[in-house]
């Protein structure tokens, strides 16, 4: 992993980061952090890489669903304080569309328009989506509204069929699979909730229960 120049930003998002630690970090440049074998620097490097790693895996694993045709929402409960950062990524990925991420207790809202990022931080995602759907006058409980018509296949079915088609049994290697898709991150991104969606209700999804 390469330590970015503004690594303080990532460090400050770590769940165990505090003012004292940030002050200690001031004496290290990103280059120092990258190559130093100083125990302090190594600890900071580890913390930065933990945050960047979680950001990266959340960008990868979070799945979005449309609400009406102006909102994309998904489940997110990260260990580090990266909610708004991840949400902003999705807002930039779909300019003009409101990105909402969150869980039972908090939510992040982001919109990218005309080179500006607008954001808000709300309570549980259910409440936020409720407010958005009344603002847009569209029903909140139709998770797939606005999805293109794919015959009988919704986007999750589409994905599942495609995903299954990519598997080469002769190369099966579950060890690598588990290493690359850590359970902890799958939970943080609500991936298993999405996969089990046929059995869970929308309320379970919002409150983060399986």
């Amino acid at each position: 992993m390469r330590v970015p120049e503004d690594y303080h930003y990532y460090l400050s998002r770590h769940q165990d980061c505090n003012e004292r630690l940030l002050a200690r970090a001031r004496k290290f440049t990103s280059k120092d952090l990258e190559i130093s074998t100083d125990p302090d620097a190594m600890r900071l490097r580890k913390m930065v890489s933990a945050v960047m790693g979680e950001v990266h895996r959340m960008l990868a694993f979070v799945r979005l669903k449309p609400l009406g045709s102006q909102v994309l929402y998904g489940y997110l409960k990260p260990r580090h304080r990266i909610g708004e950062h991840v949400c902003e990524h999705f807002a930039r990925r779909a300019p003009g569309i409101i990105a909402v991420l969150g869980n039972g207790s908090e939510s992040w809202i982001s919109l990218c328009r005309e080179g500006r990022i607008m954001r808000d931080h709300g309570r549980g995602i259910a409440e936020t989506l409720e407010r958005l759907s009344s603002a847009f006058d569209c029903p909140a409980n139709v998770p797939d509204a606005g999805n293109p018509d794919m015959g009988d296949l919704d986007v999750d079915d589409l994905w599942q069929v495609y995903y299954d088609s990519q598997y080469c049994p002769e190369k099966k290697n579950l060890g690598v699979f588990r290493q690359r898709m850590p359970r902890r991150d799958q939970d943080a991104a609500g991936l298993r909730l999405v996969q089990n969606k046929k059995e869970v209700t929308l309320e379970d999804f919002f409150s983060g229960k399986e």
Binding site: L111, P148, Y162, V176
Partner: protein, 409 residues
């Protein structure tokens, strides 16, 4: 209220209320796409399966906003799923002896074909839900490769121009495709590739009677090289080989790859170990072990990332030109390193040649020794060196580890 500036994205950030956000987004809508009722699970699955053995990932692609490579999922074999990887059609007029879509394959599956609209629609909806970073489009040659190539280009064109798609697109160039189609593909895609499949024309003729190696493949690679500009094709061109189907040695593959990197300006090569498919002409041919693929990647890595000289890498091959099932870097070190390396004085090039020391740990060693003399293995371990592998080749503080294990595995 303006609350800050995200240093990463260089955008002004505003904290506003939810209602304001809703108001601002009022006139935006998703692209509405027409129905695609002819996309059935069977078609999706079969055309998806057709690219199972194609290796690819979305790579960092420096368009207007840099696109990072992201693996959105992994298959149970641990391979990255980053793109919607599919064939346009599984109808093909070639006679490739390893391929289930070949006309000489007795296990003929039903043939299917997408339309550009269907592919654009699937890609957009998977992209929107964050299942993928983009599209990887390959295909059988159909009745005529130019017709299929045209459809593939049209798919990319619809995505980019009609839907303003900013995700990643990798287009396969079909063997024998026209200069004009290649040019169009290069304008729209992040990356294009044409599969070499074999390392030489002779091996190609054993694998496939209908492709002319020099003209259909190498010549097209040169077209791509010559048409590359600073603007088009940000992620460059790549290729892939079916390892072992044509009976070639690793050294023959290596020779071809060196040519590709040096003369074609290839970004990287992918290797896929041959695995016999039912009904194909090669169905009784022996499968290649997975480790062969792995060792070829290591060899490739030594050349591309560690910048080993071809003459060094060549020492890893046995007398028949094959790599053994062990780390080629270790094999090369055993051949070349006759005296132990002192981490306090060695150049970074020398350090990099020690097994267990990679580019990053070599860099750390150089930084570390500017401040202090390296006296112990634990200091090296802290720098990221894999001591068990490196120790036999190192001399620390005038003391050298037992050489016995250097010669045994």
């Amino acid at each position: 209220m303006r609350i800050g500036y995200n240093p990463l994205r260089q955008l002004a950030i505003w904290m506003v209320t939810l209602d304001k956000i809703a108001h601002l987004a009022e006139d935006c809508r998703f692209d509405s796409l027409g129905p695609a009722a002819s996309v059935t699970p069977e078609k999706l699955s079969l055309l998806g399966e057709g690219t199972r053995h194609d290796v690819c990932a979305s790579t960092y692609s420096p368009r207007e906003t840099p696109l990072p490579g992201i693996c959105h999922s992994f298959t149970q074999d641990g391979r990255c799923v980053s793109l919607f990887k599919t064939l346009y059609t599984n109808h093909c007029s070639h006679h490739c002896n390893y391929c289930t879509n070949a006309t000489n394959c007795s296990h003929k599956a039903k043939t299917f074909s997408y339309t550009p609209e269907e592919l654009a629609s699937i890609t957009l909806s998977l992209y929107r839900s964050n299942y993928i970073e983009g599209l990887f489009l390959s295909s059988g040659a159909g009745r005529n490769e130019d017709d299929i190539m045209e459809k593939m280009v049209e798919t990319a064109c619809q995505l980019r121009q009609k839907h303003g798609f900013r995700g990643y697109i990798h287009l396969k160039i079909l063997p024998g495709a026209s200069h004009a189609h290649i040019q169009e593909a290069m304008e729209l895609a992040d990356r294009v590739s044409i599969n070499l499949e074999a390392s030489t024309a002779t091996h190609m003729s054993e694998m496939c009677a209908t492709k002319n190696y020099e003209n259909d493949i190498l010549q097209r690679q040169r077209y791509i090289r010559d048409m590359s500009t600073a603007v088009n094709l940000p992620a460059g061109q790549t290729t892939q080989l079916v390892v072992g189907a044509g009976g070639e040695s690793d050294e023959e593959i290596f020779k071809r790859i060196i040519y590709e990197y040096k003369e074609i300006g290839l970004r990287r090569a992918y290797y896929s170990a041959f695995c016999p498919q039912e009904g194909t002409h090669f169905e009784r041919k022996e499968a290649q072990p997975q480790w062969r693929e792995h060792r070829l990647y290591q060899m490739d890595w030594l050349y591309r990332v560690y910048h080993f000289q071809p003459c060094e890498i060549r020492r890893a091959f046995d007398e028949n030109g094959f790599l053994q099932n062990n780390d080629p870097k270790m094999a090369i070190a055993r051949e070349f390193m006759d005296s132990p390396v002192d981490p306090n004085v060695a150049t970074s090039r020398e350090l990099l040649r020690v097994p267990g020391i990679g580019p990053k740990s070599a860099q750390r060693i150089v930084a570390l020794r500017q401040r202090q003399t390296i006296l112990s293995k634990s200091e090296l371990a802290a720098a990221g060196v894999r001591i068990k592998r490196a120790a036999p080749f190192l001399k620390i503080n005038g003391w050298r580890d037992s050489t016995l294990e250097m010669w045994s595995d």
